[in-house]
Structure formats: structure tokens, C-alpha cells
């Protein structure tokens, strides 16, 4: 097992080193083969690991001690259990496909940059694997920050573009805010429990050691970390900007894997979260708000990737809603299905962009159905899946979350259904504008329209199949399935509990949500089959189009004041107050020197006068208590 996990982890790292160090030496072909091959190797190893878990249950392996001091021991341990093995498969599986896709998508890059791209991508997989495999929060944090780094590097992959760099920086810094929360939570655990290992923290004994305030604090801080990584309100604005990176990157990092790390983390520590009512409510509220907010924005966006990005944010909000209402396995289920269909959508979008020569504005597309048949079909499957149309995968996962939400509070459910409707609407708005109607681009673009090469379409097809059938792993018992996934995860999140709804209610809810989604879907297709959205006029339309002005809000409320404070400190406090005090001391000495030397006026008479006065002063000092009092008394007796 030690060797196997080592394989899983080290193949991507080897790929990183190979491509990173040899970027000037290898040909593109070698780079592509190696990079993809290593991930596939890792995927195969992951399958073995998964099977091992199925057979023997969870195992943890110890490599070396990362930190081992008298007060704190942090081993470099990995844990392969039901949850992590599942994530392993998703990461390496989707990762392999996206690597494969990238080999074609990035063809135009020079070989050094091509290698750099794959090095980053491999490194990302490496860190992502650390994140899910770690047996304690530190290892998770290492992966956590590592994927952030890779995200940063990949968003800013085209580094000569200033905006892209800015987006990359923004992503990293926003992630860091979350990371600080995560870190503080770790500190809190160490402070109270003296350990960060799952096996010691996530137990009933350690829970007993924590007060409810501790648990709330820790979980809220952990959730802050998840907010940063998984782009929840208020730390979500980086994700749409992150679309500056190459499209496969968006698919892998900003849709399928990294952004779901928050869900992984909370699911991993579900014991803690379940013990804090406050945190759960916070998570649910923030989740559903994010889902709705992002959905409203997505409706009005015209950039194909931006729509998908907001859609991702929105879907992540659903997952958090799931977490907040205690449907951990539902959230994980949605992570998996979302990984498939969102990766598929992004890759499809990439294929479109590829065909359109880097054009991303959907208003300039249209009618691509015939030109890009495979892309079209797969994209459509993705859209159906995300819209929650049965029997595609999105339906099952979303429904599970909604059902759990209803059980908790019908308000969640109502809002969730509204969100689902909007999802269906904007996805099909996107689909219709892009693939239906007439081509609206330049003739030049039209002439060069072509279906993407095999390396790109093959992943699309595979993912489309996955999106379509992945629901099978979580068919609820209601429909005669036995929900393989929730049983699978039972060791982590506990046996699925009865949510306490009658079958009739469940069927009703399902029907209502599907109906609403279908209506929205059809509405979108009808509206956008022919026409496109120009810049909106209505207030609400503008408001959504401008993303609720949240970026501007952040600039005025946070960024600018910070800059001003920094400028004030630099220019006023540092220069005038502190340095001024230091230099002032020097000036004071100089000034006194100038004054003191004037006493030395060169005249003997004055000198002697000063001496006499000094003698008098000495007398006065010596006799300070007696002389003045008794100066004119005759006798001392």
C-alpha cells in the first residue's frame, strides 16, 4: 500500500520535475506523452487503491515525520479510505482526460511553454492528491496551498498579459484569506487537542475536549478556508476572473477539482460540523445565497467561460447547501457529477473557442451545431445534466441535496428550486446562443470553423458518457436503487439517515423541480434561438450584467482603503513620524551644538565670569538645604 500510494503521489511530481527541468530539451511530443502518461499511471494506481479500499477498508500509510518536536508531532501520513479514494479517481480520471485534451488544445505554444504548462498541470495534480490523501490537516493544508499556487501559476500562464496576472494574483490573495482561516482553525485544534491527525481530531474523545464555542470557532474558520477555495460569498469574485487561464485549466482546476476542495474538507471533518448548529446554518445560508447570486449573474453574461464560471460558483453553492443541511454524501455526489459535466462543458467551450480562434463572446457565435457536431452533442449532454433533467447525473445529485434541504427547511428548497430553474435557463441560453441560430462571427472565422482533433473530442465523449450515467452511483432507494455512494461513504459521514419525508412528498418535490427546470430550459431555448442579449437596459438587467457591482464594492470598501492606509503609513508615518523622530534627534544634537558653541565666545572675561558663577552654583548645590535658609541668620545654634 505504501508503494501504491507513493506511486499515485509521485507520478505527477515526476511529471512536474521532468517537464519543468527539461522544458528546453524535450520535444512537444515527449512532453505530452510523459505528462499525460504519468497522470494515467497515477489513475491506474488510483484504481488499485480504490479496489484495495473496497476490499480491506481504510488504510493509512506513514512515510516520515514532517515535524516532530516535544510539543507537536506532525507525521507525513496518507490515508486511503472511501472518501479519498473516490476523490482520487475523480482527480486522476478527469485529470487524465484534461491532460489528453490539453495536448491538442495547447499545441500552438512553443515547446518551452508547452512544457511549463504541463509541469504546472502535473504539479497541480500532485498537490491535489496531497490534499485528498493527507492523513492530517497539515498535509491537507500543504495540498490546499499548493493547488492555490498552481491555480495562480496557471491563471497567469500567459504572463505577458497584465490583466491575467492581476486575475492570478487576485485568485491567490483571496485564497490566502481563506487559507488564513484554515490555518487559524488548525492552530485552534493544536491548541486544544495537540494534534491535527484525523484519527485524533475527528473522534468522540476529542470532541469531548472541545467546548461548543471551540467547535463553532474551528468549524467557522475551516469554513472560511472552504469559502476561499470554493469561491463562496464573499470570496467568490476570483473564480470568474480565473477564466483568464487556458480553458482546460478552468475545466480541471476551476470546475472539477480544486474548487471542490472545500467540500472535501468539510465532508472530511463532518463530525465537527455536525456538532455546530450555527456553522451549519451559516454554511447553508451562504451556500444558497452564493448559488442564487452567481446564477443571476450568469444569466446576463456573454463570455462563454464566464457563464460557466458563474455556473460553477452557483453549483458550488448547491454543494455547500448540501453540506449545511447535513447531506454530506449528497454534496460529494454533486461534486462527482459536477466534475464530469462541468469539465465536459468547459472542455466543450474550449473546443468552441479553439474553433473560433480564441473568440469567447457568445454573441459572435451561433449556429455551430453543424460545424462542430461532436462538441455540440457533448455540450448538450452537459447542459442537460447540469439542468437537472432526469435521468442525467445532475438530476440525482441535485435532487438529493434539495430533498435534504426541504427536510431542514422548505425555504432552502424553494430557493434551491429557483436556482435550479435559473441554472437551466442560463445554460440553455448559452447553448442556444452558441449552437443554434445563425453564425454571427466574421467570415474569416466562419471559413476556419472546424471540429477539434481527436485528442480533444475523445475526452469530450468520455465525459459526456460519464455525465449521462454517473447518476447511477447514487440512485436513491426511492427509485429502487440502493444509493451505492452513500453506503460507500458511510464510514466517513455515517450511515445515511432517514430524512423523514414520505415517499409521496419526495416524488412531488422531484416533479416540481424537474418541471420548473424544464420550463426554464424551454423558455431559454425559445428566447435565444434567434436573438442574442445586447447590453441590457433595465436596471436589474444592468445590475446582473455588472455582476452586482461587487468588484467595485470590494475596491471601494477594501482595496482602496488598504492602499490608502499603506500609502499613509509609508509616506506620513514612516517618513515623518518615525524617521522624523530619529532624524530629529540628530538635528537636535546639531542645533544644540550650534547653540552651545556660542557660549565659547572667545573672551576671557566671560570665561572667568562663568567660572565664578559655576563656583557659586556649586556652593548652592552643596548647601542646597541649609545655606539659603540660614544665609542671614547669625548663629546655627
Amino acid at each position: 500500500m505504501k508503494v501504491l500510494v507513493g506511486f499515485i503521489i509521485l507520478w505527477p511530481l515526476a511529471g512536474f520535475l521532468f517537464n519543468g527541468l527539461g522544458r528546453n530539451y524535450w520535444s512537444k511530443k515527449v512532453i505530452a506523452y510523459k505528462a499525460t502518461g504519468y497522470i494515467i499511471a497515477s489513475f491506474i494506481a488510483s484504481i488499485f487503491a480504490f479496489l484495495h479500499v473496497q476490499e480491506h477498508g481504510a488504510t493509512s500509510v506513514h512515510y516520515f515525520d514532517f515535524i516532530n518536536t516535544a510539543t507537536l508531532k506532525i507525521p507525513f501520513d496518507f490515508k486511503v479510505d472511501a472518501l479519498s479514494s473516490l476523490f482520487l479517481l475523480v482527480i486522476t480520471g478527469v485529470g487524465s482526460l484534461i491532460h489528453l485534451y490539453s495536448t491538442a488544445y495547447m499545441k500552438e505554444e512553443s515547446s518551452a511553454h508547452y512544457a511549463r504548462y504541463f509541469a504546472y498541470l502535473n504539479l497541480f495534480i500532485f498537490f491535489m492528491l496531497l490534499l485528498v490523501l493527507g492523513d492530517n490537516y497539515i498535509i491537507m493544508f500543504i495540498g490546499w496551498e499548493g493547488v492555490g499556487l498552481c491555480s495562480y501559476l496557471l491563471i497567469g500562464y500567459w504572463f505577458t498579459n497584465g490583466d491575467f496576472n492581476y486575475a492570478a494574483k487576485k485568485a491567490f490573495i483571496m485564497n490566502r484569506i481563506g487559507d488564513l482561516g484554515f490555518l487559524l482553525a488548525i492552530f485552534w485544534m493544536i491548541f486544544k487537542l495537540g494534534s491535527v491527525s484525523y484519527s485524533e481530531v475527528l473522534t468522540a474523545e476529542s470532541l469531548a475536549k472541545l467546548s461548543s464555542a471551540d467547535i463553532t470557532g474551528i468549524t467557522l474558520l475551516l469554513f472560511l478556508g472552504a469559502m476561499g477555495k470554493s469561491a463562496q460569498i464573499p470570496l467568490f469574485t476570483w473564480l470568474p476572473d480565473a477564466m483568464a487561464g487556458p480553458t482546460p485549466v478552468s475545466a480541471l482546476i476551476h470546475a472539477a477539482t480544486m474548487v471542490t476542495a472545500g467540500i472535501y474538507m468539510i465532508t472530511r471533518s463532518n463530525i465537527l460540523f455536525s456538532h455546530s448548529e450555527i456553522t451549519q446554518t451559516v454554511i447553508a445560508v451562504i451556500g444558497i445565497s452564493t448559488a442564487l447570486l452567481a446564477a443571476t449573474i450568469a444569466i446576463k453574461q456573454n463570455d462563454i467561460k464566464k457563464v460557466l464560471a458563474y455556473s460553477t460558483v452557483s453549483q458550488l453553492g448547491y454543494m455547500f447547501l448540501g453540506l449545511g443541511v447535513g447531506a454530506y454524501s449528497g454534496a460529494v455526489f454533486h461534486v462527482i457529477t459536477h466534475a464530469f459535466f462541468k469539465a465536459l462543458l468547459f472542455l466543450g467551450a474550449g473546443s468552441v473557442i479553439h474553433a473560433m480562434h480564441l473568440e469567447q463572446d457568445i454573441r459572435k457565435m451561433g449556429g455551430l451545431k453543424s460545424k462542430l457536431p461532436i462538441t455540440h452533442i457533448t455540450f448538450l449532454i452537459g447542459c442537460i445534466a447540469i439542468a437537472g433533467v432526469p435521468p442525467f447525473s445532475g438530476f440525482f445529485s441535485k435532487d438529493e441535496i434539495l430533498a435534504a434541504a426541504f427536510a431542514k427547511s422548505p425555504v432552502y428548497w424553494v430557493l434551491g428550486v429557483i436556482g435550479a430553474a435559473m441554472t437551466a435557463f442560463y445554460m440553455f441560453r448559452l447553448y442556444a446562443t452558441t449552437f443554434l441560430g445563425k453564425f454571427r462571427g466574421t467570415p474569416n472565422q466562419e471559413a476556419h470553423l472546424h471540429e477539434s482533433p481527436m485528442a480533444m473530442t475523445f475526452p469530450l465523449i468520455l465525459l459526456a458518457v460519464a455525465s449521462a450515467i454517473a447518476g447511477a452511483i447514487g440512485i436513491p432507494e426511492l427509485m429502487g436503487g440502493h444509493h451505492w455512494l452513500s453506503h460507500q461513504l458511510s464510514t466517513i459521514v455515517g450511515e445515511p439517515t432517514e430524512i423523514g419525508l414520505s415517499h409521496a412528498t419526495e416524488w412531488l418535490l422531484m416533479a416540481v423541480s424537474v418541471t420548473i427546470a424544464l420550463i426554464a430550459l424551454l423558455l431559454a431555448v425559445i428566447i435565444y434561438k434567434k436573438k442574442t442579449d445586447e447590453v441590457p437596459n433595465s436596471f436589474i438587467g444592468k445590475f446582473f450584467y455588472n455582476k452586482w457591482h461587487i468588484d467595485e464594492l470590494y475596491n471601494t470598501v477594501i482595496v482602496n482603503p488598504l492602499n490608502r492606509i499603506a500609502g499613509f503609513l509609508k509616506n506620513s508615518i514612516e517618513k515623518q513620524v518615525i524617521d522624523g523622530a530619529v532624524n530629529g534627534t540628530g538635528k537636535l544634537v546639531q542645533y544644540s551644538a550650534r547653540q552651545l558653541r556660542l557660549i565659547q565666545n572667545g573672551q576671557v572675561g566671560y570665561y572667568i565670569l562663568f567660572m565664578v558663577l559655576a563656583i557659586i552654583l556649586l556652593f548652592l548645590l552643596w548647601f542646597n538645604d541649609t545655606l539659603l535658609l540660614r544665609l542671614f541668620h547669625n548663629s546655627i545654634k
Partner: protein, 472 residues
């Protein structure tokens, strides 16, 4: 064994004064510093070592050198830094190379002495000895405003060390056996009130040296104006003198006073961390940016030490080493850029990644270490330090934690402005970077990552010092 750390640099420095040929002087200096490095590695592998010889019998001062884990890790840092600095800057050293190198080695001599001295008077001696060559180096070969700036630095630190001298004499008088040995100092008969006095006197010296807010203003100026080789010495090794002083002298000798001042110092340090980070955000001068970043990092180490928890002090000990390596790397990169473009303004840079990909990668590597990304060496230390601050007080820990965000902001700003974007005219002038500097940077980067993944040897090295502090 220990004497070699004093003698090798000293003898070489004297020898260099008579070697006019710059090339051979350089070779000798490199060989000498590498020799010291070998000795330091051997030392790190051994247990605690002492060296004792009489010095000034009238004063009962002894030439007592002592190497425990804390000393060893700093000796190692010094031993790594100097060859790295000399090799990396060997292409652009000034005309009178032999004197330049000689002064550098004198500084190394002083630094080694500071870290090894087990006798207070000897400690003070080396403390000053480390300062004076640096003063000359900066004043002769520094930038435009070098004279005034270096002078400010010199007087500032000199004032501090004079206070420490008073403190040393003060404690000496209260030792039972009239000795300057640290062991006697530890047994000195000091009441709480006297401890506070002695503490204050020592602390001023260390605080100026580190420097702690608000005594820091000499530092950015001095870093900016000094020749980069000297800046590297100051930033990578010399500022550690202050922290070392606290760990070696302040904490064990005046525990009562130390505990009494924890709150003040920690809060001051945390203010300093945030303050310096904020200023770094607005810096356009790359050297000043690194300087302020260094102030912030040092402030964190100081705060962690003063949180007086084992975990924080352990972290600080590791970080002493790690920060030295990281900041050394950053300075070397900054130096190469400055030397080749003639500017320090980041606004005029950009596109390094396109023009000099290797250098850009190295820069990013050290920048990541600077923001304490996991698996870099800085993470280990900072993790423990923040941890201890958190345990000291949740809110202080959280406030200090904000600095990791700020650090990301200014470091990435730097990376963005220097490495990314279109190639600027200044960056376009750059020639190929010389191989030795590149090799040094790569070695340093390897150290960064190796100690980041396997920090345990460093923990083992410093464990005995930590135990000494906490066994009492």
C-alpha cells in the same frame, strides 16, 4: 574545532589585505568560506562543543566558545551565506576587491564569534566586530546617499550595543563569582527589579539590531544604499544577531523580566509586522520592498519568541535559518536585476520571465518561500510561530496572521511587476546571468525545498537548546 570558525575568516581576511590581484583574492575568499562551510557541516553533525582559554584574567573574562544547537544552526547559516554571497556577487565586486573581501571576512569572523561566544564580554566584542567592517563596506562602496545612511545605521546600532555593554557590566557585577561566563550570568543574583533594568539594556541593543518597530528606520535605508553583498550579509545573517541575542542571553538570563514584558513586546512586534507589511505593499523600490518584508518577518520571529511557548521558540529557531536562506536568494536575484538593468524601480521592470526565464523561475521560487508556502522552508517555521502566537492570544494570533495575506500581496506584486508583463526596455538590456550566481541560487533553492519537506534535521539540531531554555 570551534576556533577554526574564528581563525579561518580572520587569517584569510588578513591575508587578503596583501593580495592585490582581484581574481586570486576572490578564489582565496571562496576557498576559505567553503572551508568554513565544511567545518560548519562537520560541527552540525557533532554534539555540543566547547572551547575555553583565558583571556583577560583581571576581569575574569574568558575566551569561551560554546556551540549548542542554536549556535550551530546560525553558524551553519553564516557558513552557507558567505560563500554564496561571494560567489554570487563575484562578477560585480568593486575595484579593490581584496579589501572588499577582506572586510567581508572580518564581518564573518565577527558573526561567527557572536554566535559562538559563551562569555558576555567576548560576545560584545564580536558584536561590535561584526558591525565595523560592514560600516566601512557600506560607506565606501554603497549607493549615492551611502555616507549619511550608513552613518545613521552605525550610530543607531552602536548606541544599542553600548546599552548592552552597560547591561553586561551590570549583570557581571551581580554574579557571585565575578565572571562573564554565561553560566555565571545565569546564576547571577538579580532581583526582579534589577532584572528589568538589565533586560531593558540588553533588549534595546537587540531590538535595534533586529530591528523592531519603531526602531527600524535605519534598515530600509541601509539595505538600499549598501552594496548588495553587504546587504545580503546584513539581511541574511546580521539581523539574526538580535534574535539570537534574545534566545541566548535575554530569555535564559532574565526570565522574570522576560515574562513581565511579554505583552508589550509581542504587541509591538505584531504592530510592526502589519506596519512593515503595509509599507511593503506600496514600495516601488525592490530593495526596499525586501527590506520591509524582512522587517515583518523578523518581527514575527521576535513575537514568537516572546510568546514564550516552546512551539514558537522552536519555530523561531528554525526560521532563523530559513529566513536567512530565503532572503539571501531574493537579494541575489534583486542584485542581478539591478546590476544588469541599472534600476531598482519595479515600475521600470517587467517581462523578466520572457527575457530570463531561469531567473524568473528562481525569483518565483524565493518569492514563494517568502510567503511561506507549504513545502518551502519558511512554512515550517512560520507555522509553528503563528501557532504559538495563536496560543498566546487568539486575537494577536489572528492579527499577526493577517500578515500572511499582506505578504502574499506585496510579494506577488513584486513578482508580477518584475517577472510578468511585457518586456520593459530596462529588462531588455539584460545579458545572460553568470553561471556561478545561477548555481548558487539553485543550491539555495534546493535548500529551501529540501528543508521545507524534511525540516526534521533542523529540529533535531536545535532540540538541545530548546530543552535548555525550557528545562529551567
Amino acid at each position: 574545532m570551534l576556533l577554526s570558525f574564528i581563525l579561518i575568516p580572520f587569517v584569510t581576511a588578513l591575508l587578503l589585505l596583501f593580495i592585490k590581484n582581484g581574481k586570486s583574492a576572490n578564489t582565496i575568499a571562496i576557498v576559505s568560506t567553503l572551508g568554513t562551510l565544511v567545518a560548519a557541516i562537520v560541527l552540525a553533525g557533532n554534539g555540543a562543543v566547547d572551547f575555553n582559554a583565558p583571556w583577560i584574567p583581571v576581569l575574569h573574562a574568558q575566551f569561551f566558545l560554546h556551540a549548542d544547537g542554536l549556535a550551530k544552526i546560525l553558524v551553519l547559516l553564516t557558513a552557507i551565506s558567505f560563500p554564496a554571497i561571494i560567489i554570487a556577487t563575484s562578477q560585480n565586486q568593486p575595484k579593490q576587491k581584496n579589501i572588499f573581501l577582506s572586510l567581508l571576512l572580518f564581518a564573518q569572523n565577527g558573526l561567527m564569534g557572536v554566535f559562538l561566544a559563551g562569555d558576555a564580554l567576548l560576545f560584545y566584542f564580536f558584536w561590535e566586530l561584526a558591525l565595523i567592517p560592514v560600516y566601512f563596506l557600506s560607506s565606501i562602496w554603497g549607493g549615492e546617499k551611502r555616507i549619511a545612511v550608513t552613518f545613521k545605521f552605525f550610530i543607531y546600532t552602536f548606541l544599542g550595543s553600548l546599552m548592552m555593554l552597560i547591561g553586561i557590566v551590570f549583570v557581571y557585577m551581580h554574579t557571585s563569582d565575578q565572571s562573564f561566563l554565561i553560566t555565571s550570568f545565569a546564576k547571577a543574583n538579580l532581583t526582579a527589579g534589577l532584572q528589568v533594568t538589565a533586560f531593558a539594556l540588553f533588549f534595546i541593543a537587540f531590538a535595534i539590531k533586529m530591528p523592531i518597530f519603531p526602531l527600524h528606520t535605519w534598515q530600509p535605508d541601509a539595505y538600499e544604499q549598501s552594496p548588495t553583498a553587504v546587504t545580503m550579509v546584513m539581511s541574511a545573517v546580521m539581523v539574526k544577531m538580535g534574535l539570537y541575542g534574545i534566545l541566548r542571553w535575554l530569555l535564559p538570563l532574565f526570565p522574570t523580566a522576560f515574562v513581565a514584558h511579554i505583552n508589550v513586546v509581542v504587541i509591538l512586534s505584531v504592530i510592526g509586522i502589519l506596519y512593515a507589511s503595509f509599507i511593503a505593499i506600496r514600495q516601488d523600490d525592490i530593495k526596499r520592498l525586501i527590506a520591509y518584508s524582512s522587517i515583518a518577518h523578523i518581527g514575527l520571529m521576535n513575537a514568537a519568541i516572546f510568546s514564550h511557548l516552546q512551539i514558537g521558540i522552536q519555530g523561531a529557531m528554525i526560521q532563523l535559518f530559513s529566513h536567512g536562506i530565503n532572503v539571501l536568494g531574493l537579494w541575489i536575484v534583486a542584485d542581478i536585476i539591478e546590476q544588469q538593468t541599472g534600476t531598482r524601480s519595479m515600475q521600470q521592470m517587467g517581462g523578466l520571465a520572457k527575457k530570463q526565464p531561469t531567473l524568473a523561475i528562481l525569483l518565483v521560487g524565493f518569492a514563494l518561500a517568502n510567503i511561506a508556502l507549504p513545502l518551502t522552508n519558511a512554512f515550517v517555521g512560520e507555522f509553528l510561530m503563528f501557532n504559538s502566537l495563536f496560543q498566546y492570544n487568539i486575537w494577536v494570533g489572528a492579527a499577526a496572521g493577517v500578515s500572511i495575506i499582506l505578504a502574499a500581496i506585496y510579494t506577488l506584486n513584486m513578482v508580477q511587476k518584475v517577472a510578468y508583463g511585457e518586456v520593459s526596455t530596462q529588462i531588455n538590456q539584460m545579458q545572460t546571468i553568470n553561471k556561478p550566481a545561477q548555481i548558487v541560487l539553485i543550491v539555495l533553492l534546493i535548500i529551501v525545498f529540501v528543508t521545507g519537506v524534511f525540516p526534521q534535521p533542523l529540529f533535531d539540531l536545535t532540540a538541545d537548546s530548546l530543552q535548555q531554555i525550557f528545562v529551567k
